[in-house]
Symmetry: C2
Subunit: 216 residues, 2 copies
């Protein structure tokens, strides 16, 4: 009985994600679900990425957080539509919350929609939101052991960004260990080394995004 309940809940969630995807497909929107631990640089990445893509690609952001509108405020100056979704105690964005977020946007005027998930390496990985691609950030100060410890996050990633590489000089960090762990788990996603704050490596990321849009 318990298994059936859980299965039905996940089926309902996946059906709503498919509906989100259908709405975005109809409007020509490509959606990227952006996942990471808290403080890996998701908001900074988006702050720097949107100007790199504009004006050719019109971007918008749905920002998930338990509390506060700080991330939306940070992104507010970019001229792109931003919607904050506060999850309260919710540990991940749900497809229903994303559907409400989509209601706030003019989808016909958007090319790329970034969905900045709640900072959490576990729960968000289990939920399809209707995105087309998943970008996972891993920041160097989190340690070089995280790929093996959080396989459910890294296995379905379409692109992985190793962020805060400017700190490599002051950290004991073995990038090769990350690559070795990824080679056992996910050989499909490119690993992009970058520093969102300085902008290093972001042209490679922007290029990856442009390719996803042209494939669409």
């Amino acid at each position: 009985m318990k298994i059936n309940v859980v299965k039905n809940v996940m089926e309902a969630s996946d059906a709503m994600a498919d509906e989100n995807r259908r709405r975005m497909d109809a409007a020509g929107v490509v959606a990227i679900n952006v996942l990471s631990a808290p403080g890996s640089g998701k908001t900074t990445l988006l702050e720097k990425t949107i100007p790199l893509l504009a004006p050719r690609y019109r971007c918008a952001v749905l920002v998930g957080d338990l509390q506060t509108t700080r991330d939306a405020e940070r992104l507010g100056d970019l001229g792109a539509p931003i919607t904050q979704i506060n999850t309260g105690r919710g540990c991940h964005l749900s497809p229903a919350e994303v559907a409400e977020g989509l209601d706030t946007l003019e989808l016909d005027k958007i090319d790329l929609l970034f969905i900045e998930n709640v900072g959490n390496m576990v729960c968000p990985a289990a939920f399809d939101l209707g995105e087309h691609f998943r970008a996972v950030l891993l920041s160097t100060p989190e340690g070089d052991d995280k790929v093996a410890k959080y396989p459910t996050l890294f296995q379905p990633a379409d692109v992985i960004l190793l962020t805060k590489i400017d700190l490599l000089d002051v950290l004991e960090y073995d990038s090769q260990r990350v690559r070795d762990d990824l080679s056992k788990l996910n050989t499909r996603a490119p690993l992009i080394e970058c520093c969102p704050l300085s902008g290093a490596g972001l042209e490679e990321w922007a290029g990856w995004l442009r390719e996803r849009f042209s494939e669409k």
Copy 2:
């Protein structure tokens, strides 16, 4: 109906936590639930803390992780009893898992039990495991905005450790912002600035632990 189910699940969870606490009280064990985002330095903190407290205080550790036994292996050389609990896809330790962990330990030979939770700023905060105190780590590279964004984690903390302060020189970080946010949320818990890797600040933390044990 749905609310009742959730309530019953939480009541069962809390009852099991109480039973864990009763077992530890009977054996004179003081338990610390250690919570933080992934990579904030929980394992390094325990690696450095246990030798500081030995031999006067006999320590043991229950280590929660989705996968791998890497943390338990790191702690294995300390001569203290270590039990790894792999949660699979579970985003937090549960009181039932902790009860199984307690079965593996000789509680009469333990003074301080550290329960290293799964690296996650959201879900672990919602579950009493039977601990006596909660220690929450916040590492400087995660950013100075995390207290306001994760109030459910910081509000019930008994002590907060600001870790990786050696990186303050190379980060844009406003410690006062952390203190200001804490002043609205939790004025009870001391904030200990430390660097587990170098050992800076750990004597203050060890002193806090010794006081909790003597109060017991």
